[in-house]
Amino acid sequence: MTSGPAFLGYARADGTVGTRNHVLVVPTVICSAVVAERIAAAIAPVGAALPHLAGCGQIGPDLTVTHETLAAYARHPNVGAVIVVALGCEQVVAQQIADAARHAGRPAHIVSIQGEGGTLRATARGIEIARELAASLDSVERSWCPASSLVLSVKCGGSDYTSGLASNPAVGRLADTLVDLGGAVVLGEIAEIMGAEHLLAARASTPATGAQLLRVISRVEAEAMALGVDIRGTQPSPGNIRGGLTTIEEKSLGATHKAGERTRLEDVVGYAAPIAKRGLTVMDTPGLDVESVTGMVGGGAQIVVFTTGLGTPTGNPIAPVIKVTGNSRTAQTMADNIDVDVSGILTTGESFDVAARRLFTEMLEVASGRPTAAERLGHREFAIYRRNPTI
């Protein structure tokens, strides 16, 4: 038992705490993705596959990012056991993914499609292993773990005017509360800090961290500008613009509210890199929702709080994604996809603090195992950030 706010989590041998206990089925390459999905489906919902488009034809940083992202999922606290599904001739090395899991104390097996002799044999062998692993995980009990062991990913997508006025400030107060308790918060989407970086840099714990944030934002802006087009139309998106957001600066100023109002910025890390510090970390992810959440979960986030004004359904294969809206119409029209409605902030005068307390309770209940809307609906989107051409 622990004092202070707590949830029922999976305490891992490596000291981390999971909110879920999945058997992760990792295809090393796009060519083994279908077999991996069939193996995971045979032990649903405990099975979780990571279908992706990469693993071969990659060069330099992209190959490294693919490898490190898959390895990060293999040792993630929400994963209890791992099956790596290889084709046999690809660039990503199955053994290294399996080793990442084993070093974190999780059992890991490799099934090779070329080695087993085709789709049917590889699928059958994988399902046989998956059933044994699922049975062994079934006996693992949850135990009380402090809220401070959480790494919370904060995210927004399908933003409209309500995001910056209601849901993001409410999530920001949740972030402040979790950091006060000793927890960690991660914010991604570098393009959506553009125009609000002065506010985050001013909260950096050291001048070097603030300078690092500004460097990453300058790099992303320069990459976008090198294409010779106006970023507007992508940032903000057509839907954002219809929803009342005029410029990326306006979108960013509303978006960064979700990282808290006063937490200090402790670190800036690369895509899917380990989130090593408590407090607030900024991760170098793109603004595309699924690539961004994939990276932050890879960094160690065991739970995601995701605000949306227009409504969006996406989840993650291994981490619960809690959908929050500040738009009363979206709360009704997309009720299937929404976990928490904070539209009362704009319609009935609910305070940010009261909304944040509701979000805190929701976060602990979901961390303890209650499925989110995205989990119930089978939303398990996964996409690895790609920056280089396919060769």
Binding site: L165, G195, V229, D230, I231, G244, T246, T247, I248, E249
Partner: protein, 102 residues
């Protein structure tokens, strides 16, 4: 009366919580003003005149510059506000990579 939210004291725009028709009186923080355009739900209304080239301010920070003069009560959006960020169209010559077989 229709309400528009003013986030920060220094802002020169407010956000309409419901659709506003031209000619309607709008309550925006301590101010009352008359809308001179229709303002869709969630879009912004100018609280005072904003000169072309001046900063449009929301959340207490600039969200862009007026690309034409904006009168108090006008709809403020992409037609009269330019972003200062990510403007590759202004600052860089487009690269034209060879795609396909020459």
């Amino acid at each position: 009366m229709i309400t528009a939210i003013v986030v920060h004291d220094g802002d020169n725009v407010a956000t309409a919580l419901e659709a506003i028709e031209a000619g309607q009186t709008v309550s925006a923080g301590p101010a009352r003003l008359t809308a001179i355009d229709a303002i869709p739900r969630g879009h912004k209304i100018a609280l005072r005149d904003i000169a072309a080239g001046a900063a449009v301010v929301k959340y207490g920070s600039p969200i862009g510059t007026a690309s034409s003069p904006i009168a108090a009560g006008a709809h403020v959006h992409t037609h009269n506000v330019a972003s200062a960020r990510g403007r590759g169209d202004l600052h860089a010559a487009p690269r034209s990579p060879d795609i396909g077989i020459p």
